[in-house]
Symmetry: C2
Subunit: 217 residues, 2 copies
DNA sequence: ATAAATTTTTAGTCTTCCCTAAAAATATTT
DNA sequence: AAATATTTTTAGGGAAGACTAAAAATTTAT
């Protein structure tokens, strides 16, 4: 039995350790979870005891295979619920994170499998992030940040790195949505801004925005 | 802020006290919640401090207006989620209770209102129980247990009193569903059994079953 | 290579919600 | 109206998960 709090820690370690295989520091987890480092140390010990994490004092923590699978299952739930909220209940994508954060802890295999079917087995959530299947497998569409794409090339907007409300609202306001075809037409070295072109318009985006937009390659 | 545990106690008091206005004993709550009486006393004190319940030592507990509304809001969530699980995810009605028991604690006004709309504002859940609206109001269809209905009369199966898995499975097996028109054709005093007639068949039911079946009057 | 700064851990507490065991109050018998 | 039984409360504690403050280890700077 994995508790709600344990699930949150597993998720944090998974994300910080880029799938949980890299080693993660106590402080990094503390910041992510918004807790004090001492609380993190307590929890890490517990995870290690339960063989969900590998832990050497002062050396950081990583996930075991079981821990990784558990984390993926929580992420699967989170992303399926987000998809439900946006596609079925008509939430806009910047409103769903906090609710999905609660829903991801509901315990029922059957529920999540039926939800998956109800949503017609989506492979990506509303932010473009891949949804693991029930065995924890998923395929990530290859994409690159606009920052790393050469002027003149184009691609479909696959996902966004920053999922803060502010950023998602910016995208809404500027009518940029996942699935849009985007062409990078110019780069201005002076302020590191990019000019991009969509089906409906041409606009200039800052470096800050560009690095958060991922296009298919 | 009302905690998950507090919500469960409010619900229990509400149900035991027939809308929470009757006084309920510590032991009754303990049995309902599956906790010890001493734990119940602790929690009752807390509810009274938060002005969700009226409590006089040794005299039992009842809900305040706020407590009653909070309980109804939890019940609203529970019944909407049950409706979702049955109508949208194709669960059968005996499987949904435990999952709804978790989902009812998800915190988001907006979520539950959108869910309500998505389900097309149902007035009754899959067990025939009324779903309070967002203000806590609901209309109960007038119904009577088959035990209290005179032989020869008929009505629509409105709700079931017992929602245990065993009973719901019995109903499924015998093809009795909410909405069915049922005529009470005979009563056998010897074993207090009833003979009932539906569109598709005639069958005999025990007193035990009869008292759990409510027909519109 | 030490000293200083930072990170991490330990030790001790707090709150929530549950428990057991014993005491107090209320109800039921006789 | 006692005596007995039952119910309810109090007192004291435990596990989970968070915290503060201080100690220990590690890293960085001089």
């Amino acid at each position: 039995m994995v508790t709600l709090s344990e699930e949150n820690y597993l998720k944090a370690i998974y994300h910080l350790g880029n799938q949980g295989d890299n080693t993660v520091s106590t402080n990094a987890i503390a910041e992510q979870i918004d807790a004090k480092a001492s609380s993190v140390t307590d929890m890490i010990k517990k995870l290690a005891e339960k063989e969900l994490a590998n832990y050497i004092k002062y050396q950081g923590v990583s996930l075991t295979e079981t821990g990784r699978l558990t984390a993926r299952s929580v992420i699967r739930k989170h992303r399926l619920w987000e998809t439900f909220l946006v596609n079925k209940l008509n939430f806009s994508w910047h409103e769903v994170h906090d609710i999905a954060e609660q829903l991801e802890h509901i315990k029922s295999e059957k529920l999540i499998d039926k939800l998956d079917d109800f949503l017609e087995n989506p492979t990506h959530d509303p932010h473009g992030d891949p949804i693991p299947d029930k065995h924890g497998n998923y395929t990530k569409i290859k994409s690159k940040s606009i920052l790393d794409i050469s002027t003149g090339s184009q691609g479909v907007l696959i996902s966004v790195k920053d999922s803060s409300k502010a950023f998602l609202k910016y995208l809404n306001k500027n009518e940029l949505a996942l699935g849009d075809m985007i062409r990078v037409v110019d780069f201005e070295p002076f302020d590191e801004s990019f000019t991009i072109e969509t089906k409906s318009k041409t606009m200039t985006i800052s470096k800050n925005v560009a690095e958060n937009l991922y296009l298919s390659v």
